[in-house]
Amino acid sequence: MKVLAIGLTGLRRMFRDKSNYFFVFVLPLGIIVITGSLFGSGFQPTIGLVAPRDGVGALLAERLDDIADFEVVRFDDLDELLDSVERSNVQAGVVISSEFEADLRSGELAEVGYIARPDSAGPQLQAVVGAVVTEFSYEVNAARIAGGELVAGVTEASERAASLAPIEVELSVAGEPMFGADLGQFDLGASSQLVLFMFLTGLTGSAAMIQSRQLGVSRRMLSTPTSARTIILGETLGRFSVVLVQGLYIVFVTLVAFGVDWGDPLGAAAIIALFGLVASGAAMLLGSLFRNDQQAGGIGVMLGLGLAALGGAMVPIEVMPAGMQQVARMTPHAWAIDGFSTLVRQDGTFSDILPALGVLALFAVGFLSVAGWVFRIILTRSH
C-alpha cells in the first residue's frame, strides 16, 4: 500500500511539471513524424529541372518527368538549381536552356546541362538522363528527315517510334529486402522511438529522486515506520510508472494516428514491460549515484540518447559498421528493437521473441538489483 503511494507520487510529480507534457507527449510524436517523412518513404533520387514551358525544350522536359525512378522537381533558374544541388537537396540537376530550341533549329549540337556534385550519386544518375536524351535525339533526327515543323515533327516521330517493334528492357528484381517490402512509413521508426523515449524519459525523470533526497523527503520517510525496502520498491514503482506512461502513450498514438503495426499484442506487451523494468532500473541507478540533479539531467540525456544511438534506435543496426554492431548487442535497446522487428517484420509470436525477452529480463534483474543495493546504501548512510 505504501509502495503504491510512493510510486504514484512519482507519477504525479511528472505531471506536475508542465514541461514534461512537451518532452513526454509532444516531442516523441514530432520526432516520429519528422523521421517518418524524411526517411520512411524510402530513398528516391530527386532531379531538379530548369526547362522552358513550351516548344521542343518542354517536350524533352516531359520525357524527363516521366522517368519512373525519380522525382523531378522544377526550378525557376539555374542559380536556384545549382544551390539546391550543392546543398544536396536534390541529387542532380538538368538544365534545358532557352537557346536549346534555337540550336536545334539551326542544326547545331543542342546541349542539355547536367549538374552533379562529384561525390554523390549524381554522376551515375547521368546514365538515366542520358538514355532519355539519346532517345529524344533520334526523334529530332527523324523529324528532320520528315521535314516540316520541328515540335510537331518530334511529337509525330515519338508516336511513330512507339508503333515500331520494341526492344524492351525488363527489370526483374529478386531477393530479400533488408527492411521488408510491406512495412508502413512509420513502422520501423515507431519501435525505435519507443525504446529511445522510454529509456530517456526514465533517466531524465530520475532527477525527481535526487530532489527528494536533497529535500530530505526520503530520509524523513525512513524515520516513519516504513522500511528501506518499501521505499526502494516504491521509488522503483514510481520510475516504472513514468516509463510505462511514456511507452503506452507512444504505442497508443502511433496505433491510432499512423496505423503503426506493433505485431502480436502479447509479445509487444512483454517487450514493453521488460524494457520498462530495464529503464526503471537504469533510472534508479542514475538517481542514486548522483547528488546534483542538474548533472544527473545532463548525464541522463547523454546516456539516453547515446545508448539509443548505439543500440540501433537512431540508425538501424544493419547499416552500422561491423564493430559497432557488436557494441549494439550490449545495449538493452538493441534487444528490444530486435524483438519488435521479429514481431512486425516476420509476423513472429511470443515464442519467437523468447531469446530477446530473456536478455531483457537479465538486463532488468541486473539493473534493478544493483540500483536497489546502491539506493539502500545512500538512503541509510549516516549524514
Binding site: F23, T35, D69, E86, R87, L109, V112, A127, V140, P177
Partner: protein, 387 residues
C-alpha cells in the same frame, strides 16, 4: 564596468565549481557526436561504388556491340564489370552483394535486332539497391534507344519516299543532335563527423548559455537581487554581467568543442574567420532566446523547464539530429525559423569553399534572432525582475 566584471567573475567561478556547465557544454555534446559518427561510420555519402554483371547468351555481333559499350564504361572507371555464365550465376552474385545489378542479353537477341522484330533485354536487380538497377536499366535502354533510333530513321525515310539506306547510314554515323554537357557543382554540405559535432555543439549551446541568464532569477529568489540593486551598481551592469557570463560560457564551450573535434575526430569546420563569425552569431542568438524565456518566467525552475522545451524544440525543427537534406517542403520552411538551421547552413556554405563572405546571410540571421529576443528580454527584465 568594474562592478559588471566582478559579478560576471563571481558567476563564472560558481559555474566552474558546479560541474554542470562543463558537462552540458563539453562532455555531453562531444560524447554524443562521437557516438553518432561511429554508428554512421560507413554510411558516408560518397562516390557510389558500382559494379554490374553481364550475361551474353547471344554471342552475336549486336550483343558484341553492347559488350563493347560496357567494357568501355568500365575502362572509364564508371563501374566494375563482371561476366557471368548464365542468369542464375548473375543472380547469385547479386544476392551475395558482389554486383549491384546485371544485364542479360538473351540468345537470339542479335537475330531479332537484325530482322527488325521486337526483343527484350533483362536487367536483374536487388530491392535494396535500386540505384544500381536504375543505372543498369538506363545503360540497356540507351543501347536499345540507339537501335530503335536507327529503325525510326529508316521508317521515316521510307514513309516520305527518301533513300532508306542513306537515312540509316546517316543515323548510325552522324553525331547526335542533343547531348548532355556536365556542369560542375561545389559540395556545400558537411561531412558526417563535422555535421554531428556541429549539430550537437549548437544544440547544447542553448543549454550552456542558460546558466548565465537564468541566474538573474536565482538572485531574485535568494534575495541577493534587491541587495545588488541597493548597491551603487547600475541595472544595466547587472543584466550586462549575466549576459557576459552566458556569452563567455557559450564561446568557451564552442571554442573547445571546435578545437577538440578538429584534433581528435578530424572534423572540418572550414574557414576559421567564417566559423568564428558563425559561432559569435550562434552564441548571440542562443543568449537572446534563452534570456527572453528567463525574462517571462517566474522561477528559475520554471525558466529552466521552458528553456529546455524551447531548446529541444528548436533543435528538433532545426534538423541537428538528422543528417538528411530537409528538401523544400514544410519541414524546410519551419527549419528556417530556427537559429540551428542557419548555423548549420553557414557551416555547409563554408564547406563548399568561397571564403568568409558566404556566411554573411547566416550570420545576419543569427544576429537578428539574438538582437530581437535579447532586446525584448532586456526590456522585460528591467520591468519585472528589477522592479
Amino acid at each position: 564596468m568594474r562592478a559588471m566584471m566582478l559579478i560576471a567573475g563571481k558567476d563564472l567561478r560558481l559555474r566552474i565549481r558546479d560541474r554542470s556547465a562543463l558537462m552540458v557544454g563539453l562532455v555531453v555534446p562531444f560524447t554524443l557526436a562521437v557516438i553518432f559518427s561511429l554508428i554512421l561510420g560507413n554510411a558516408e555519402e560518397g562516390p557510389i561504388e558500382l559494379s554490374f554483371g553481364v550475361v551474353d547468351a547471344d554471342r552475336s555481333s549486336v550483343s558484341g556491340e553492347l559488350m563493347e559499350v560496357l567494357v568501355s564504361l568500365e575502362t572509364e572507371g564508371i563501374f566494375d564489370l563482371e561476366t557471368a555464365g548464365d542468369p542464375d550465376a548473375a543472380q547469385a552474385l547479386i544476392d551475395e552483394g558482389t554486383i549491384g545489378a546485371a544485364i542479360v542479353i538473351p540468345a537470339g537477341f542479335g537475330e531479332a535486332v537484325e530482322s527488325g522484330s521486337g526483343t527484350r533485354l533483362t536487367v536483374l536487380g536487388h530491392p535494396d539497391r535500386p540505384t544500381s538497377s536504375t543505372i543498369a536499366t538506363s545503360i540497356a535502354e540507351t543501347f536499345a534507344a540507339n537501335i530503335e533510333g536507327v529503325r525510326l530513321a529508316a521508317v521515316t525515310a521510307a514513309q516520305i519516299g527518301a533513300d532508306v539506306g542513306a537515312a540509316v547510314a546517316e543515323a548510325q554515323s552522324a553525331p547526335p543532335s542533343v547531348s548532355l554537357a556536365g556542369i560542375e557543382a561545389a559540395n556545400r554540405q558537411l561531412d558526417l563527423t563535422t555535421f554531428f559535432v556541429a549539430g550537437m555543439a549548437v544544440f547544447f549551446l542553448f543549454f550552456t548559455v542558460q546558466f548565465g541568464v537564468t541566474s538573474l532569477l536565482e538572485e531574485q529568489r535568494e534575495g541577493t537581487m534587491s541587495r545588488l540593486l541597493a548597491a551603487p551598481i547600475s541595472r544595466g551592469a547587472i543584466v550586462g554581467a549575466k549576459a557576459v557570463v552566458s556569452f563567455a560560457l557559450g564561446l568557451v564551450s564552442m571554442g573547445v568543442l571546435i578545437g577538440v573535434s578538429t584534433v581528435l575526430l578530424g572534423a572540418e569546420w572550414g574557414n576559421p574567420l567564417g566559423v568564428a563569425l558563425l559561432v559569435v552569431g550562434g552564441v548571440v542568438s542562443a543568449v537572446g532566446i534563452m534570456a527572453v524565456v528567463a525574462a517571462f518566467a517566474r522561477t528559475p525552475e520554471g525558466a529552466g523547464n521552458l528553456q529546455a522545451v524551447i531548446a529541444v524544440g528548436l533543435g528538433m525543427l532545426g534538423g541537428v539530429f538528422f543528417p538528411a537534406p530537409l528538401g523544400d517542403g514544410v519541414l524546410a520552411g519551419l527549419a528556417m525559423l530556427t537559429p540551428h538551421r542557419w548555423f548549420m547552413t553557414g557551416l555547409a556554405d563554408l564547406a563548399g569553399g568561397g571564403g568568409v563572405t558566404v556566411v554573411f546571410p547566416s550570420v545576419v540571421a543569427l544576429l537578428g534572432f539574438g538582437l530581437v529576443t535579447g532586446g525584448l528580454a532586456a526590456f522585460r527584465i528591467r520591468r519585472t525582475v528589477m522592479a
